[in-house]
């Protein structure tokens, strides 16, 4: 029977009347139970593909509409109107197809997270021109400068270190800053800029140790790690916006936690790459890779000292403060899976393993 039962709304007032929608090859009409008949224009019918368990609204180009619970009937009407069958509603209706869809979604999300985003970011990072990288470095440095002081290292000594570093691998800009509460550190700000803190220069017992750090940072710069991170963050932003448009604030926090773990894992992978690069360059320069291990150990001790000094006020309740074996020099209170750097012991073990090559 080419008929749908439903409710007819004229659209002028908020009241409807029970009606039937009938169609044949020749004509389509809505007939209300009170006997009123409205012919409708075949070309103007809009019958969206039905949703499971949901009434379907059929529109006729104006403000009139006809609402029906009969999903199968709507599909028959769509066939009669030669509308393409709704692909979504066909998948939705078949349980095996739904299960296959779920499996595909999981597989594709895993592929995107593990392979798609890193590969895309890696490719895009290589296309960034040096001038753009330099601009990014400047912007990042000016943000950092809010927290840093001008370097106290005498300019001749700065130039001496710079010349020494540059002679082993060139980079556009090397800067020095007093880092205050951030302590000894070095940071890469893009393909063209590396910054050293005064505290790091003071901590190192030889210029060779500083060179080891320089090589590590140069690894970040040459491998375009900063640029890759920018693209990764952007890719995740778009992906999450597209997939979870309306999940609300708690939902966003749920997505945020695994995402920060992912970004941290990625950051640790970058550190390992930069360590490998530094070891290669140290060997190339005829120096011992253990120089990197030495300075890493000093950095760890340095940050542990500072950590226990900083928490001296509340340190009373923590009997292990002095002998804390937490290993991460950058952020000692973070758990492993959120740490931006691998544990120092792991990094030193890697350097040792390269010694035996």
């Amino acid at each position: 029977m080419n008929e749908l039962r439903g409710v007819w709304f004229e659209g002028g007032l908020s009241r409807g009347s029970p009606a039937r929608l009938r169609w044949s090859a020749a004509a389509i009409a809505v007939i209300t139970d009170e006997g009123q008949m409205v012919r409708v224009d075949r070309d103007k019918i809009q019958a969206l593909s039905p949703l499971p368990g949901t009434p379907t609204r059929i529109a006729f180009g104006g403000r009139e509409s006809f609402v029906t619970d009969d999903g199968h009937g709507v599909e028959r009407l769509r066939e009669a109107l030669a509308l393409a069958p709704g692909l979504a509603s066909r998948v939705e209706r078949h349980m095996p197809a739904v299960i296959a869809a779920a499996a595909l979604v999981v597989a594709m999300l895993a592929a995107i997270a593990l392979w798609g985003v890193p590969t895309l970011a890696g490719r895009l990072a290589l296309t960034v021109p040096e001038e753009v990288s330099a601009q990014v470095s400047q912007a990042l440095m000016s943000q950092l400068d809010f927290f840093l002081e001008p370097s106290g290292i005498p300019p001749p000594r700065q130039r001496e270190l710079e010349r020494y570093f540059q002679s082993h691998g060139e980079i556009e800009t090397i800067v020095f800053r007093e880092a205050g509460r951030f302590g000894a550190n070095a940071v890469t700000l893009g393909a063209t800029m590396i910054a050293f803190s005064d505290e790091l220069v003071e901590l190192a017992e030889s210029d060779e140790e500083l060179l080891a750090v320089y090589f590590h940072e140069l690894g970040h710069a040459r491998l375009r790690h900063v640029e890759q991170n920018v693209f990764r963050a952007a890719a995740w932003l778009v992906l999450i916006t597209m997939l979870t448009g309306d999940i609300g604030a708690v939902g966003e926090m749920l997505v945020g936690l695994p995402l920060s773990a992912e970004l941290a894992a990625n950051s640790r992978a970058f550190e390992r790459e930069a360590d490998a690069y530094a070891v290669d360059r140290l060997i190339e320069a005829g120096l011992s890779p253990m120089l990197l291990a030495d300075i890493l150990r000093k950095l760890e001790a340095h940050h542990q000292r500072r950590g226990s000094e900083n928490s001296a006020g509340g340190g009373d309740a923590d009997p292990s403060a002095g002998t804390d074996s937490r290993e991460n020099p950058v952020s000692p209170s973070l758990p492993d899976y959120l740490a931006t750097h691998p544990p120092t012991s792991e990094r030193i073990a890697y350097i040792r393993s390269r010694m035996n090559d």
């Binding site: 659209g11 908020s14 368990g53 912007a139 932003l237 074996s325």
Partner: protein, 367 residues
Amino acid sequence: MVDLENPGGGEIESRAFEHPGEEQLTTERFEFHGNGSDYFRIWIVNMLFTILTLGIYSAWAKVRSKRYFYGNTELAGDHFDYLASPIAILKGRLIAVAALLAYSFSGYISLAAGWIALALLLALIPLAVVQSRRFNSSNSAWRGVRFGFDGGHMQAYPPHLFWPALGVATLGLAMPFAWFKSNQFQFNHYRFGTTRSASTATTRGFYVIGVSLVIALVAVIALYLLYLFATAMLTRMIGFESSQAAANLEAALVIFPSLLFAYATLWAFYQAMFYKLVFNNIEIGGNRLRNSIYSLNYVWLIVSNTFLIIVTLGFFYPWAAVRRARYLLSNISLEARDLDSFAAGEFDHASAQGEEFGEAFDLGLGL
């Protein structure tokens, strides 16, 4: 030329429904008929097609989701309709993603560019709020009559920029007043057909929410301090050596779950208080919204939903969304005087751009 401040073109009659002498109130309950397994089918197919089309399908996905929720919401025997065109949403979504990317890259260009982008964003928010409401409401209908929103773009600046800024400047003291202003702006400008809605919520109601939130926050902080104290005592008593492994375990088993729990609880509590106040104070054509939302029930609902979403790695989401809709709608009713005489206005056409701006920046606007 369409008058932007009065898209309906006609007079807005908020008194058309006064029938003095013949008051007959009936209680009409909202009902939600959706179920998790039906919505799961829609949701998973939406995800699949969105990924396969590199995001393009997300606009169609959104329409299907909304059609499901609207179509399963019943009032006085009839269902709601969501009428938006996916193409309009797609356009808005592309613009919003472009704006979002531009905003997130701006900080890398220079410090000034970052600040300018932030200022632009703040200046655009009120416009986005208005566009979003116009788009959403004019694409929502019941019994063949569309809703609408008549708030003007310029009128949106005080409630969505000035008052919240003052709220921040006064360290939150003026924030409930900003909520009040925003509520006034929102619910005094919705329309169903040609009939304007009105809100009777008062400043006092919003201050009650503010004070309750502060008390809840203080309680959470007190619990946290208690935990710190207890663990410190315990480590001292048993001479426990803290290690990285212990820190990992503590973070995974205690810190993150309790942070999330506290966040979800506070958020749900805030939302429940808000809904309770707002949906008890809306009047349209002599009909009044009433609700029996109970904060603790709602908090339990959100917390348990969150837990189940985590343990199912997200797959519980469709059931969670349906549960929430069912709870809220089954606790909202209409003290109805006359639901048959709302007259439709002209068709409203608002672009989808504002809406997607709003969504992309997570303004979390309700219906």
